[in-house]
Symmetry: C2
Subunit: 238 residues, 2 copies
DNA sequence: CGTTATTCTCGTACGACGTACGAGAATAAC
DNA sequence: GTTATTCTCGTACGTCGTACGAGAATAACG
C-alpha cells in the first residue's frame, strides 16, 4: 500500500516497530499477541467501520483490559498502521508476471481495488497514513517487479506506484460513497430532490443537462477498469 | 469538489442545510453568522490542521460559547461540510474556457490542486465527505462546461469529474506527506535507515535497486502535471 | 404598553475517547 | 530464594461531541 497524506503522524521509529527482536525470555509471558490484537481490530473495522475501532472495544474483543493493548502497540495510530499492513498480507506477492508491464501494473491496481472493497475502511485509513510493514513492502516489491521492464529510474517507479495506489484509493472511496448514498434510506432521495431543485434555479444549466440526460447507470467495475486502463496506458516509460 | 468515501455521514438533509430560508424575524438576533463561524474553522484548520478544529476552539475563535455553534450547524460533521464549501468558493467559476476540453479539464485539475495546497486539510476532509454546497456546485458547473464539447452522457461527465477530483486529492495528499516526511526532524532519516535495512535483507531486490538508483529528486509540480496530462489525454470521449 | 411566542446564548453535565500511572502478578536468571 | 524483568489492567485525567435547559433578547399581538 504505502501511501500517505495526513497531519497526525505516529512518531514511532519504523525500525523499532517492524524489526524489533522482541522478548528476551525474561518477564511475564504475554497473554496475547500483536497478530491477534491486530486481527481483532481488522474484524471490528470490517464489521462496523473504522470509527468503531477504539482501544476499549478492540481489547474487549480479545478479552484483554484496554491498557494491555499498549504492550503490543505504543499507541492507536500504530495499531492502525498494523491493521493496514495486516490486510496487505492478503495481497499476492508472487503472482505470475506476464512481462508486459502495462498488463502487470493494471493487475496490481485491480488487486488493490479488490482488497479495498473487502476492507472498506482501507481507503480512509490509507489516506492519512504511510505504512511500511513487511506485507506492505512485499507488495511494493511485487509492484516494482511489474515495473522492471520499464527502465524508469527508482524515484519514478515509486512515484508511479504511489500514484496508482492513490488513484485506486480515491476511486474505491468514491465507489463506496456512491453505494452508501444509493442504499441508506431517504438520504439518496433527499439528495436527488435537492439537486433537482438546484438544477431548476436556472443558474446551473450543466447540472440540469446532466440530470436530464443521465445515461445508463454506470457499472463500478467497468468504470474502474476503464479509468485504470487509460491511466496506465497513458503512462510513458521514458 | 464533490467527493465522498467514508462511513460516518452527517444525516442532514441537504435541502434544509443549503436552501433554508432562515430567520422569520422573530426571536433573539443572532450574535454570529454561519459565514463567520465557518471562516474561523477554516482559519484554524489552515493554521493547525484538521484535528485542531474542535467545537470549543472554533467557538473561542469567534468569541462564542461552544454550544452556540449549534445554532448555526447541527453538528460538527456539518461544520466540516461548510468548511469544504467555504474554501471551494475560492475556485473560479467563470474562467475562460478555451473550448478544447482536454486543456480545460487539465486547468480544472490544476485549480483543484492549488486549492488543496492552500488548504492542506482539504484532501483529508474530502476523502470522507460529499459536499453539495453552492460553491461546490458552482465549480461542478464550471467543470461540466469544460466537458461540454465531449458529448459524454450525464453520468459519464460526473464520473470523469469525480475521478479527476479523487485523483487530485490523492496526489496532493501524497505530495503533502512526502513534504512532511522530508521535513520533520529525524523522522525521514529513521525511515530511510529502516528502508536501507530492509533492502539489505536480500529479499527485496526491487527496493534495493530503487534505493541504489534513485534518479533526480522529483519536482512535485512537474510530477503532478505529468500524471494529470496523461490521465486526461488518456480519456476517451465516446 | 404588557404579554406571549420565538429564537438565540451558553453553563453544566454526560458518556466516550486516548492514554499516563502505578500497583500487582507472573516469569526467568542468578 | 531473591531479584530483575515484563507483562496485565483498574483507576483516573483531560478532551472530545453534544443533550439539556435556564435565561436573555426580540418581534408580534392584545
Amino acid at each position: 500500500m504505502t501511501r500517505g497524506g495526513g497531519a497526525g503522524a505516529s512518531g514511532v521509529d519504523p525500525q523499532q516497530l517492524w524489526l524489533n527482536p522482541g522478548r528476551t525470555g525474561r518477564g511475564r509471558k504475554p497473554a496475547f499477541s500483536r497478530e491477534e490484537i491486530t486481527a481483532a481490530a481488522v474484524a471490528l473495522a470490517d464489521a462496523e467501520g473504522l470509527e468503531a475501532v477504539t482501544m476499549r472495544r478492540v481489547a474487549a474483543r480479545v478479552g484483554a483490559g484496554a491498557m494491555s493493548l499498549y504492550s503490543y502497540a505504543p499507541d492507536k495510530e500504530t495499531l492502525l498502521e498494523l491493521m493496514v499492513d495486516h490486510v496487505s498480507g492478503e495481497l499476492p506477492t508472487d503472482g505470475r508476471l506476464t512481462g508486459d508491464w502495462r498488463t502487470d501494473l493494471k493487475s496490481v491496481g485491480r488487486l488493490q481495488r479488490d482488497l479495498m472493497l473487502r476492507h472498506r475502511w482501507l481507503p480512509a485509513a490509507l489516506s492519512a497514513r504511510r505504512s511500511l510493514g513487511p506485507n506492505t513492502l512485499a507488495f511494493l516489491e511485487y509492484a516494482l517487479a511489474a515495473l522492471r521492464p520499464t527502465r524508469l529510474d527508482g524515484a519514478a517507479k515509486l512515484e508511479v506506484f504511489s500514484m496508482l495506489t492513490g488513484f485506486v484509493a480515491g476511486h474505491v472511496g468514491y465507489e463506496i460513497s456512491q453505494a452508501a448514498a444509493a442504499g441508506s434510506s431517504g438520504r439518496a432521495a433527499a439528495e436527488a430532490r435537492y439537486l433537482a431543485a438546484v438544477a431548476a434555479d436556472g443558474r446551473h444549466p450543466g447540472l440540469a443537462e446532466v440530470l436530464a440526460a443521465p445515461g445508463r447507470p454506470p457499472d463500478p467495475e467497468a468504470t474502474f477498469s476503464r479509468f485504470l486502463d487509460r491511466l496506465v496506458d497513458g503512462l510513458d516509460t521514458g
